[in-house]
């Protein structure tokens, strides 16, 4: 199929292709997929050395290494912030010593899929803030865009370098019971977690030093260098650009990461008050030697708080005039303001279409099948099958507002049903997935716990994908909640070349074939 064919394809055809089968199996009856062990309890090829090593260690030695890792984390001050009684408290980062292993062959496919996806998403964002051909060509309904909470009219007509808006993306991947890897969501605003990915590796290297010595586990620590060169490439025309990381401050839950990245890149970590915009539209930071011009800002502050002159007027952490400076091309901002428009759970449902539209290719990584309540037939199906589905509001993240049908009360289901009927554009629904598990050390025993995976994708002149990603694990038995603030932990993630003879063939079912 050529690009031209794809661009004229109408909505009806798109829908029929992407509509999930009404009889999609529910998760609960199927055996779970374990990332290290196959259905017979035998190690998967890439995990062979690790499983053998852990079995050789025995439980008490493994526990000793877990305890040492916990001490390392405490001593290294690897923390995240939780909020309690209105105060932020930094807690030691929860880490499980048993790593998750991904076959390098499978990873290459995932990497291609993510690169493909992010290229399409960036072209989409650039399009919606400029010509909106995607709407004109009938690929994305105008009402989806009009109803997007993260569409920023203030960004219309902007042209960031390379046409890239989402420079840093953390996409959440999950594997279902049949082994298929799905993209669950794309975090395009201020995704966090990459520092923990890097720190987990340090801790895990100490715990399994012998394995690292004898096995080719792909390194992860070049990420900050890649990020730095990406940021430098965005600078307006200056020889030695000054780069800064913009943080909301110490009490932000990801402050550790902001500080980590600034240190690792050797750039300033600034708060809103450290910056101001001069009458010449240049952004300046207040240093001990006086104002100094800033050329690139890696912002870890949500759009809404970036600039009180344009967005939330009561924002205390923003920089008045920052948008003016950005629009004037005096400063580059990563991710670009407005990039979140593609980070919307309704837009998500169209991403496979966007990949076809902008790239003329079939998606390598599948979406989780998604019902769009915007359409009468899909909405009817959702309302008739609420009990079997997971219902999500479009404009929330971090699991807020999500309703899991099988765990909701009748009253909750009735309420969400009314909400869907009131504002169909705000809602999507997906079948409940049976997230894969990884053996995890819990209360002195090794048991499977559900995981997801957040790789990070850098986009600029070229693309970069972290080798593996941050594996988050729900430490409570049966739980699917992987957030560290809600009992979630993390694991190191090893991308390992499987022994040649037995290379696994577990790549994502729908995306295993090469792009057309």
């Amino acid at each position: 199929m050529t690009i031209a064919d794809d661009r004229v394809r109408g909505r009806e055809r798109t829908r029929s292709r992407e509509r999930p089968a009404p009889t999609a199996a529910t998760a609960d009856s199927r055996p779970l997929w374990d990332e290290l062990l196959d259905a017979d309890g035998q190690p998967r090829p890439a995990a062979g050395a690790l499983v053998e090593h852990i079995r050789g260690l025995g439980l008490s030695e493994l526990q000793a290494r877990q305890d040492a890792a916990d001490l390392d984390i405490l001593g290294m001050g690897i923390t995240f912030t939780v909020y309690s009684d209105g105060r932020g408290i930094d807690r030691a980062w929860p880490f499980d010593v048993i790593p998750r292993v991904i076959d390098a062959a499978e990873w290459r496919t995932i990497e291609q899929g993510l690169t493909q996806r992010l290229t399409a998403l960036n072209r989409f964002i650039d399009d919606v803030y400029n010509d909106q051909e995607v709407v004109r060509d009938g690929v994305l309904p105008a009402e989806v865009l009009a109803g997007s909470a993260n569409f920023r009219p203030a960004c219309r007509g902007a042209h960031p370098a390379y046409g890239v808006w989402a420079h840093i993306c953390g996409s959440d991947l999950v594997r279902d019971a049949d082994g298929t890897v799905y993209v669950l969501e794309d975090n395009l605003r201020v995704p966090s977690g990459v520092s923990y990915l890097l720190e987990n590796r340090l801790v895990s290297k100490r715990a399994f030093a012998d394995l690292f010595a004898h096995q080719s586990i792909q390194p992860v620590d070049d990420y900050p260098d890649e990020l730095l060169s990406l940021l430098a490439s965005l600078a307006p025309d200056v020889d030695e650009p000054t780069i800064a990381v913009l943080t909301p401050g110490l009490h932000n839950s990801a402050y550790f990461e902001h500080s980590f990245l600034a240190q690792r890149m050797g750039v300033a970590l600034v708060e809103g008050d450290d910056l101001f915009v001069g009458p010449d539209d240049h952004v300046q930071m207040r240093t001990v030697a006086g104002p100094r011009r800033v050329d690139v800002i890696y912002r870890r502050v949500d759009d809404r708080f970036l600039d009180p002159e344009v967005f939330e007027p009561s924002s205390l952490i923003g920089v008045p005039g920052l948008m003016r400076a950005w629009r004037a091309g005096k400063v580059a901002i990563a991710n670009a303001p407005g990039a979140g428009v593609a980070d919307d759970k309704v837009v998500y449902a169209w991403v496979p279409d966007l990949i076809r539209y902008y790239r003329g290719e079939e998606p390598i990584l599948p979406n989780v099948p998604t019902y769009r309540c915007l359409y009468d037939d899909e909405r009817r199906h959702v309302l008739d099958n609420l009990r079997e589905l997971v219902v999500k509001p479009a404009d929330e993240s971090g699991g807020y507002g999500l309703v899991i049908g099988s765990q909701a009360s009748d009253a909750e289901l009735a309420a969400v049903g009314h909400a869907i009927e009131d504002e169909p554009r705000r809602w999507v629904a997906q079948p409940r997935l049976a997230l894969s598990t990884v053996p995890t050390l819990c209360d002195g025993r090794i048991e499977g716990r559900h995981v997801d995976l957040r790789p990070f994708v850098l986009s600029g002149r070229s693309s970069y994908v972290t080798r593996g990603g941050l594996t988050r694990v729900a430490l409570r038995k049966g739980s699917l909640i992987v957030n560290s603030s809600q009992g979630g932990g993390s694991k190191d993630t090893w991308v390992v070349e499987a022994p040649a003879a037995t290379t696994a063939t577990t790549t994502a079912a729908a995306g295993a074939s090469a792009p057309a």
Binding site: L74, G75, M76, G77, R87, G88, I89, D90, T242, V245, L250, Y255, S259, F260, A262, Q263, A268, L269, V270, E271, D273, D274, F276, M285, R286, T287, V288, A289, G290, R292, P308, P313, S314, S315, L316, P320
Partner: protein, 347 residues
């Protein structure tokens, strides 16, 4: 190019780390003194409250200035802004917001200190475990200082940490001398230990001066340096001279002021700071040449000069942030310090 905000955090972290160390040493040496002095010499803990100058705060919270209470106040009291516990917590909070400019090991050292102090601070109160606790605290601070000295580039970040340490040390040496030396020097008519009386009601004269002067030197880590200068035996006059103006001992006030001047020479916009440091130097010179019975007044003057130096540094480098656009707390004059202390408490 160091952010003004980060410079302020580093400066205060330098001050707090130094304050924690001197406070730990003051308590440690006073405890040793108990062992060194014959039991006939009564030793009270009350004078130590004058080092931080928080007598009123202490009286409001504690029933009596006895050993357990004074030591608890100085080491383990979360409500005392200058206890070892609070200063370590605050220093760590400050460095958390400056972590991106610190060597990783330096951060780990301060974090280790924080973890140790927050989990063991009550060990410092009981006499049997106090030495071990304070030894570890002092050792961890020295480890931090060693990593900073050995691995940090001599850039602005280092300069502000060093500035904080030396301003604080100059201040603390003056405070310790004021409390310990003035009581020892004030002649026979006042040669009593504050608050101590014999059974018959008469004042108890201070004896074993040399033991007490040696304790002053040890508190400020200067006993061996004092010997090396050929000043033995330990005497009051020589000790005061040594701690005020020895040009080569890193714990003398003169040395600290020289260091402040050296650091300022490497910083931009340092003219006003240098003027204030020179003025402090002149105050010190007058103090050195003045008769010893004027030591107390002279030290008070010196403290005022050090405070003026601090204010000048603050004015030159730490401008208050712009007022928030709408409502919100408008920083009062000493807001920086208050905020930092509050932030330290909020852990």
């Amino acid at each position: 190019m160091l952010l003004a905000r980060v410079a302020e955090q580093l400066y205060w972290a330098g001050r707090y780390v130094e304050r924690a160390e001197v406070t730990a040493r003051v308590v440690n040496e006073h405890t040793h003194l108990l062992v060194d002095l014959p039991t006939s010499v009564p030793l009270t803990w009350e004078p130590l409250l004058a080092v931080p100058g928080l007598r009123e705060e202490f009286d409001a919270a504690y029933p009596a200035p006895d050993e357990p209470h004074v030591v608890n106040f100085l080491l383990a009291d979360r409500d005392n802004p200058v206890s070892v516990l609070t200063t370590v917590m605050t220093a760590r909070t400050n460095l958390r917001t400056a972590r991106e400019v610190l060597p990783r090991e330096a951060w780990q050292a301060i974090n280790d200190l924080y973890l140790y102090v927050t989990s063991h601070h009550t060990d410092g109160v009981g006499r049997h475990s106090r030495g071990r606790f304070l030894g570890r605290v002092i050792g961890e601070i020295q480890r931090f200082a060693g990593i900073v000295a050995g691995t940090m580039c001599r850039d602005d970040a280092y300069h502000f940490l060093a500035l904080g340490r030396h301003v604080e040390r100059a201040d603390m040496v003056g405070r310790v001398l004021d409390v310990r030396a003035v009581a020892l020097l004030d002649g026979p008519q006042l040669a009593t230990v504050e608050g101590a009386t014999r059974d018959d009601g008469a004042d108890v004269p201070i004896v074993h001066d040399e033991v007490q002067w040696a304790a002053v030197l040890r508190t400020l880590s200067g006993l061996e340096a004092y010997y090396r200068r050929g000043l033995a035996p330990v005497s009051g006059h020589a000790t005061v001279d040594f701690l005020l103006c020895d040009p080569d001992f890193p714990g003398s006030i003169r040395y600290c002021l020289d260091e402040v001047l050296t650091v300022l020479a490497g910083l931009p916009h340092a003219e006003a700071g240098r003027t204030a440091a020179h003025a402090t130097h002149r105050t010190l010179d007058r103090l050195v040449t003045a008769p010893l019975d004027g030591l107390h007044a002279g030290l008070a003057g010196l403290q005022v000069a050090v405070a003026a130096l601090h204010e000048q540094i603050e004015a030159s480098y730490f401008p208050p942030p712009p007022p928030p656009p709408l409502s919100g707390p408008v920083p009062p004059g000493d807001a920086a310090r208050t905020e930092i202390e509050m932030a330290g408490r909020s852990e």
